[in-house]
């Protein structure tokens, strides 16, 4: 470093020395010459140095030329640009504001896209982590759920995975920490689970194969998530050795590294009970992951695993229609939001384009005002490239400024976005503005600078010098080609806004449909208390039934509560439900894998009443349908239609297991869309929790008052009944809102983008027409002078504007139809060719554009015949 500096200094010293010699030579020669003319040496020296001017000053000037010429020019340009922009700070700050908003929004959305889709998962060798899944060979449908025995076979037979692991569970389990009852999201995992993700521990140790309980024994150890350990025990180290109770007592032997909570938001990991996976190959409730051996390609692994799966299909009848499929874990986690995020990215980018078009317009207008300045610079010898560079520098200063403001804005917007996002958006907690996003912002600034700066710069530099000088600065004549780039910009703005607005319209229509889907039950005024009652044996289960019966009876007499019931699976809840095979008395059992399936829901009496689900025939469960009484069931209409198409189902008997007792169908209820409002109702069998079915219940209370006002009452009621049962409250409306969170999120964002786009486009049209009216002032005055009335003038201006708008609308409509096809996957219940969004977009933009033409037209109409001519 010092060497380089010295080298530089040495060169500098030589330059200085040379310069001094050169200047001394000049003065000496001059003195010699003057002495030849007869002057004394002293006199000549004095004369010569006067002629020469200050030596030091000259030296200084020469030194200036030594700095790199281009850097010099750049600094000068930037300084000049900044001065120019500061002079018209109103326009400049307007431009910066619009552009900063565009860049800020784009960077914010990009940060989400970047974190969620582009960045690898935050695990070592994340690209080798694969989700190992089941594919139905008859429907080609891939499901991430696998069966336990299948997993064990895959694990022993494959040679492409370094490690493989399986996990299941993931409900919020009632967990006793000391004498407190809390929820913990517990997962059961196989021994290599942490190894697959390359995770260590923050304290304690990892699970080993010895921790996996033998046969049906309960697990005795667990690993806690860092955040959960800190929340419950104060620190990671403090959690080690503590005993908690999740069903059975477990000792915490390790705390995972900070931030690791896979899958989902796990709080605890306990070793799996291999025996509970049993031999049932049809029960697919595990998720398998694996880490590929280094150097093994996904395609090779896929072929290899498929062969193993196909082999198992030949070996076991339950496997006849399934095999193995591999999906990179990143894709499995983000696949369902990929489309949505890219659409948002596209939309915000269109807004940025429109903003650039607007700014381009403003700069064109300003360039027109500056025509004389530019002409002067050209006359003084500035080359065309130099002029373009100067103007682009100005744009660049604007762009960089706006980029900086935009990045600041993006920090705020990202937080807002995260707050607005659906809570289950994968990797949401990781979203932040990183170096990639900052580089993207810089690139975006430069890109938009080019976009909005190049047209005005080239346009300005194309000025014809002689033409301008002749014109003498008159504003009466349009300079050659002036309106054309502006017209193109207006058309582009209109077209882009139409596309965005039509897309927004489609999504809004689809979202409206979704909001008004008849769910089959009412969601308002229903309070939900999610509880977890831990049981170990049948005695506990009886106590649990009694507990819920007691709580519900006390709840039903609380003032404001009109109905109350319990359900083991929440409608709109987050738990995944899988269908199970059912059998009807007197009909053949069928082959495994080909049997019809239905969901099984355990409920208490009055459930249908509480959610206002109509009973079609038969009766509801009664308090008298207890453990000891004959088992009964209620089915929904879909199941009644498919299983008993000709006859009445009442009195028929049904079961979901070939060994359990038959249940008599006592009622049929209307269909409901439980899980996802977009999916048609599945076949459902309801069973009574009073007869021992199901797990812990969620308690539903329909109220005649605001449901949230009853939270305190209900909480103390439940706590009094049993303090070991943890409770969490929600409303059914909230659950529904969550179920449609994704469509709402994208609809809101795109609608906002479209509104901004429409506004920008209207402003753009307005400014261009106002400018064109300014240019045509004299022409209009002449027209008035020769007898044109107000109507003619207005028609002239509006006609000019609407012609541009018309072309824009046509181009936009064509674009919108193309974009609509891309959106198809995000639409529910409406066709991408639904006519209303397009009509709506055309009307809104047309009206906005119309309005934007009216004001300049009125202004033009107000031009009296004389004034314009006097201006000259």
């Amino acid at each position: 470093m010092a060497k380089v500096f010295n080298l530089f200094r040495g060169q500098r010293a030589r330059l200085e020395h040379d310069l001094e010699r050169e200047l001394r030579y000049h003065v000496d020669r001059r003195v010699d010459d003057m002495m030849k003319d007869g002057l004394s040496e002293a006199e000549a020296r004095k004369q010569a140095s006067i002629e020469f001017g200050g030596v030091a000053q000259v030296q200084e000037e020469v030194r200036d030329t030594w700095t790199w010429a281009w850097l010099d020019a750049l600094v000068a340009d930037v300084r000049y640009a900044a001065r120019g922009l500061a002079k018209s700070w109103g326009v400049s700050s307007g431009i910066i504001a619009v552009l900063a908003l565009g860049i800020g929004a784009t960077v914010a959305i990009f940060s989400v896209v970047n974190t969620v889709l582009l960045q690898p998962l935050a695990y070592p060798d994340a690209d080798r982590i694969i989700s190992i899944e089941t594919v139905s060979t008859n429907t080609a449908r891939i499901s991430p759920d696998v069966s336990g025995p299948d997993f064990l076979d895959w694990q022993t037979q494959n040679n492409v995975f370094e490690q493989m692991a399986v996990s299941y569970g993931g409900n919020d389990f009632a967990t006793m920490v000391g004498d407190r009852a809390v929820f913990a999201n517990a997962r059961y995992i196989s021994a290599d689970f942490f190894a697959v993700f390359g995770q260590g521990v923050a304290a304690g140790r990892l699970l080993t194969a010895q921790d996996v309980p033998i046969a049906d024994a309960e697990p005795t150890v667990a690993i806690a998530a860092y955040s959960w350990a800190v929340a419950q025990f104060g620190s990671a180290a403090g959690a080690i050795g503590k005993t908690i109770t999740v069903g059975s007592p477990m000792q915490i032997v390790g705390v995972a590294e900070r931030g690791f909570r896979y899958p989902g938001a796990a709080d605890l990991w306990a070793p799996w009970r291999t025996a509970s996976g049993g031999t049932n190959r049809s029960l697919q409730n595990y998720q398998a992951v694996g880490k590929l051996e280094a150097g093994v390609s996904l395609a090779r692994a896929q072929v290899h695993m498929r062969a193993i799966g196909d082999n198992l299909a030949r070996q076991y009848p339950e496997n006849r229609f399934k095999s193995v499929a591999l999906t990179p874990l990143h894709e499995r986690l983000t696949g369902n939001v990929q489309m949505m995020l890219w659409v948002l990215m596209g939309a915000v980018f269109v807004v940025l384009l429109i903003a650039c078009a607007n700014i381009s317009n403003l700069l064109l207008a300003r360039a027109a005002v500056r025509t004389r300045e530019i002409a002067l610079r050209a006359a003084l010898g500035a080359g065309r490239r130099r002029l373009v560079r100067q103007l682009l520098t100005e744009s660049g200063v604007l762009g960089v400024f706006a980029g900086a403001v935009g990045v600041l804005l993006a920090f705020v917007l990202v937080r807002a976005l995260v707050a607005l996002s659906p809570a289950d958006l994968p990797r949401l907690d990781e979203v932040h503005i990183d170096t990639t996003a900052l580089l993207f912002a810089l690139g975006l600034s430069l890109f938009s600078t080019m976009l909005f700066g190049l047209v005005p710069a080239i346009h300005a530099s194309r000025l014809d010098l002689s033409h301008l000088l002749k014109q003498g600065g008159s504003k009466g004549v349009t300079s050659g080609g002036g309106p054309r780039p502006r017209a193109t910009l207006v058309i582009a703005e209109v077209a882009l806004s139409v596309i965005l607005l039509a897309a927004a319209g489609l999504l809004i229509r689809s979202f409206q449909e979704l909001q008004h889907v008849p769910l089959g039950f009412t969601t308002n005024r229903v309070l939900v208390a999610y509880t977890e009652y831990a049981v170990n044996d049948e005695a506990d289960m009886r106590k649990r039934s009694a507990y819920y019966a007691d709580v519900l009876n006390r709840l039903r007499v609380v003032p404001g509560v009109t109905a109350a019931a319990g359900v083991s699976y929440l409608p709109m809840g987050r738990e995944l439900r899988t269908g199970r095979d059912y059998f009807i008395e007197g009909r053949p059992e069928g082959q495994p894998g080909e049997r019809p399936q239905a969901e099984l829901h355990a409920i208490t009496p009055a459930y249908f009443n509480t959610l206002e689900i109509p009973l079609r025939v038969g009766r509801d469960f009664a308090e008298s349908d207890t453990w000891e009484r004959p088992k009964v069931a209620i089915i929904n209409e879909t199941l009644a239609r498919t299983a008993f198409p000709e006859t009445s189902p009442l009195g028929r008997r049904i079961r979901t297991n070939t060994t359990s007792p038959w249940m008599e169908v006592v009622g049929v209820v209307a269909d409901t869309r439980w899980q996802d409002p977009r999916q048609p109702a599945p076949a459902v069998i309801f069973v009574s929790s009073l007869q021992g079915w199901g797990k812990s219940l969620s308690i539903l209370a329909r109220t005649s008052v605001d449901e949230t006002s009853l939270v305190t009452t209900l909480r103390s009621l439940l706590n009094d009944a049993n303090p070991a049962v943890p409770v969490r409250f929600e409303t059914m409306d909230e659950l529904f809102a969550e179920a449609v969170a994704h469509p709402r999120f994208r609809t809101q964002l795109i609608a906002a983008f479209a509104a901004v786009a429409a506004l920008l486009a209207a402003v753009g049209i307005f400014s261009v027409l106002a400018y064109l009216v300014g240019l045509r002032t004299r022409e209009i005055a002449v027209r008035r002078a020769v007898g044109a009335d107000t109507r003619d003038v207005v028609r002239l201006i509006v006609g000019q504007g609407m012609r541009l708008v018309g072309i824009g609308l046509a181009v936009g409509l064509a674009g919108a139809l193309v974009v609509a096809r891309l959106l198809q996957g995000l639409l529910y219940a409406i066709s991408p060719w639904d006519v209303w969004p397009y009509l709506g977009a055309l009307t809104v933009i047309g009206a906005a554009a119309g309005l934007a033409t009216v004001i300049p037209a009125i202004r033009a109409a107000a031009i009296p015949a004389g004034v314009a001519l006097q201006q000259e």
Partner: protein, 97 residues
């Protein structure tokens, strides 16, 4: 442009250029002789001139400037630009009256 023109005839050192400038402009251009040097260095930076120390007619070493190839090209460009401008101005004046 004038400097380029003078050097296009033959390489010269600073003092000689100053004298030539005064001669051809018949003393109408009264520039500070010192301001010639920043101009020379600027042109050299742009690559239009090159320089070397060479014994002058008096025998003392002087820094001699010569036009580079790029300098010759630049002179052509400036000449044509100048011609265009003067033609334009002439046109304006003749039309203007």
């Amino acid at each position: 442009m004038l400097i380029l023109r003078i050097l296009s005839l033959e390489p010269a050192h600073g003092y000689a250029i100053a004298r030539r400038l005064q001669q051809i402009s018949r003393d109408t251009l009264h520039v500070n002789q010192g301001s010639l040097y920043p101009a020379l260095h600027r042109l050299e930076q742009k690559g239009w001139l090159e320089s070397e120390w060479r014994p002058s007619d008096t025998g003392r070493e002087a820094k001699c400037y010569a036009l580079t190839l790029a300098g010759h090209a630049q002179l052509e460009v400036e000449k044509s630009d100048w011609d265009r401008l003067t033609a334009t101005v002439r046109l304006v004046f003749s039309e203007g009256t």
